[in-house]
């Protein structure tokens, strides 16, 4: 289950980076593209970090 969240986070982050640095933005959409790109980068990065630091409580035997 955890690996699915990793994969989704990386896809979100990758799409944000694509929009921000590779996509040829039409002039009329620069602001929306800036917002969407950075939104996805921030959300993707934070969800990756949350996945990394998420600690599940150990079950007592």
């Amino acid at each position: 289950m955890r690996y699915i969240f990793y994969a989704i986070s990386i896809i979100i982050l990758g799409f944000g980076l694509y929009l921000e640095y590779i996509y040829d933005v039409p002039d009329a959409s620069v602001t929306v593209n800036f917002f969407t790109g950075w939104f996805l980068i921030v959300v993707g990065t934070s969800s990756l970090l949350i996945n990394l630091f998420w600690s599940t409580p150990k079950r007592r035997k």
């Binding site: 040829d24 039409p26 002039d27 921030v42 934070s46 949350i50 998420w54």
Partner: protein, 211 residues
């Protein structure tokens, strides 16, 4: 919940607020502001006698071409450019990467145009730009030529059209670049065109991509 998770969540919320402020909020002006190179605001004489690159024979009359503005368009360095304007021309920024210019007897714009990736500049001009211009009242093509402006392939379209009943001559120069093309669209009354064309050609010839 883990303290680290709470911290990451808080930082995420703060980052999203900053992204919003930079996109649509009060900080958006910082992102899109035109940056004017202070050094280039000094009216400098480019060359008193030599012809300006890209201008025709008439361009030798451009004695007082002053370098006035340098664009820093959006956040994409490949679209930075600068252009020289005569001292008596007035330029105001209309949106990032674009200036509206006015001068005795005419007006125009200097800006960027996004040519679709599945087209070429010439195809774009002839199949999309010119058909739209043909709808203008009194449209008549004077000339169309492929040339270079400071090493960049460019296309110049000169046409006549009626603007509020006044016969105007327009010159549109499409200058190819790495990402966008530059579009310099300048006009003057048809009767004054022989006197104005030298300065207009000099302005077009002064265009440089900053790379």
């Amino acid at each position: 919940m883990n303290k680290k998770i709470i911290v990451i969540f808080g930082l995420t919320v703060i980052a999203l607020i900053i992204v919003y402020l930079y996109s649509f909020g009060p900080l958006a002006g910082l992102r899109t502001a035109l940056s004017i190179n202070p050094a280039s605001q000094k009216p400098i004489i480019v060359n008193q006698n030599a012809p300006v690159t890209g201008g025709g024979a008439a361009a030798t009359t451009t004695a007082n071409v002053a370098l006035v503005q340098e664009f820093k368009n959006r956040d994409m360095v490949q679209n930075y450019y600068h252009v020289s304007l005569p001292a008596d021309w007035h330029a105001t920024s209309t949106k990032p990467g674009e200036y509206a210019v006015s001068y005795p007897g005419g007006s125009g714009t200097i800006g960027l145009i996004d040519i679709p990736d599945n087209s070429t500049p010439e195809l774009f001009i002839l199949s999309q730009q010119e058909p739209a211009l043909k709808k203008l009242p009194g449209y008549s093509k004077v000339s169309y030529a492929s040339t270079t402006v400071n090493g960049n392939i460019s296309y110049k379209l000169v046409y006549d059209a009626l603007d509020n009943g006044v016969a105007m001559t327009h010159e549109r120069a499409y200058i190819t670049g790495q990402d966008h093309a530059a579009l310099i669209d300048l006009s003057a009354p048809a009767s004054a065109w022989p006197n104005m064309s030298g300065a207009i050609e000099a302005v077009i010839g002064s265009f440089h991509w900053d790379q």
